[in-house]
Symmetry: C2
DNA sequence: CGGTTCGGAATGGCATGTCACTTCCTGAAG
DNA sequence: CTTCAGGAAGTGACATGCCATTCCGAACCG
């Protein structure tokens, strides 16, 4: 009935140490995977980074694929948490409020992605090519983002501050594409935060006003 | 000085046959790589698909990585060709003409990507995780697309049919993101061409007019 | 018949996962 | 407070299987 606590506090000192090592392994694996790539990383590399024997690794994780899941779990959780925290389509009643809300979401995302380009590297470049199940989880994240966006659009269209003829679903997908463009910018110019901010701003402006002269 | 002809016509019958087989191998490799993934595909799989011994493979290509380059070369060439064929920023003098032009480009791209979802699979999901050089080539394609788009924007801003305060570069990146959204849609619903057309339309509309009520 | 191409058995190297052994920790008993 | 026993965690040599690549006898062409 108990089972080993995962995020919860561990009772005994030994348990706490064990838990700590587990997390260190996940972190080390993330670093190796996101930099060398999954296939070019050996269990030995992960172990060596921590100065442990690679046999020890297998005391904590079933196999290489298993830890990859844990790494991705952590990243997806962080992202979903950020999205969920800001999510409140019904609390937005005017265009200006929605712009503000989008800025908040944009900020929360760049908090995650700009702060560490390896996150985008891992999710966009690596995790999409391991197997169908993992690819599905990453693409599923995009679907989730699309759905969240679509909820805002639906609300805004009803309240009349968005175009009446807005194709909610198709446009939501396009907007997720704009977010993607920001992640790519983060991959291209990891150091240049300023460029990232400008791309984000341009994306937001495009989203609301388009490119045509009014 | 001669070197083996690649696209050119072959003199002798043997050379022609050899050239044909080369192309068949590239095609077979594309099919395997895009479906199973690069790492899960063995040279033997490619050879078997063609009913040749896998030793024969090495008569035509240096190694596994080598043929991957040829596969990607072919795909990139097709895409760049399509983009170059439609490219003519200076011939576009009004907003309507630019809309029309974008529709053409969008059409040319879906000609390639919607017709065969494996192209997007290969480039977006597989090719980004092999090594730095290949990743660079794929991301470089996005940069090229961004540059082409930016040229149109510059022109349109000068002629006054696009917003005067348009951030040319940042917005171009965002628009490439919208294109990316279309590719993802193609991956998600490969069979549903109608959904893809709707996403493309919504993307174009977003690009020109944004979501806000006018 | 030279020479060229084919094919698939053999090779080599490498990374994963196992296991028998060692080390360390902890809690209890003296 | 010290000692000790039991068990948990750590370790890295080793077994295993896999696959890219090589190589040489066979088939085939001209």
């Amino acid at each position: 009935m108990t089972g080993p606590p995962t995020t919860t506090q561990a009772r005994t000192r030994a348990e706490r140490l064990r838990q700590e090592l587990r997390e260190e392994i996940v972190t080390a694996a993330f670093e190796e995977f996101s930099q060398r790539g999954y296939h070019d990383t050996g269990i030995a590399d992960i172990a060596q980074r921590l100065g442990i024997g690679h046999g020890t690794f297998y005391r904590h994780f079933k196999n290489k694929r298993d830890i990859l899941d844990h790494v991705v779990d952590g990243l997806l959780a962080r992202i979903l948490e950020a999205l969920a925290a800001e999510n409140a389509p019904d609390a937005v009643d005017t265009l200006d409020e929605y712009v503000e809300q989008c800025r908040r979401i944009s900020g929360a995302l760049s908090e995650i992605f700009s702060a560490d380009p390896r996150v985008a590297r891992m999710l966009l470049l690596e995790a999409t090519s391991i197997d169908a199940e993992l690819t599905e989880r990453v693409l599923g994240l995009f679907d989730t983002a699309t759905a969240l966006t679509a909820a805002y659009f639906m609300h805004g269209r009803e309240l009349g501050y968005l175009r009446a003829d807005l194709d909610v679903d198709g446009t939501a997908r396009a907007v997720v594409g704009v977010i993607l463009a920001n992640l790519l910018q983060g991959l291209r110019t990891p150091a240049d935060r300023e460029a990232q901010r400008r791309t984000a701003d341009a994306g937001l402006r495009l989203m609301f006003d388009g490119i045509a002269r009014r």
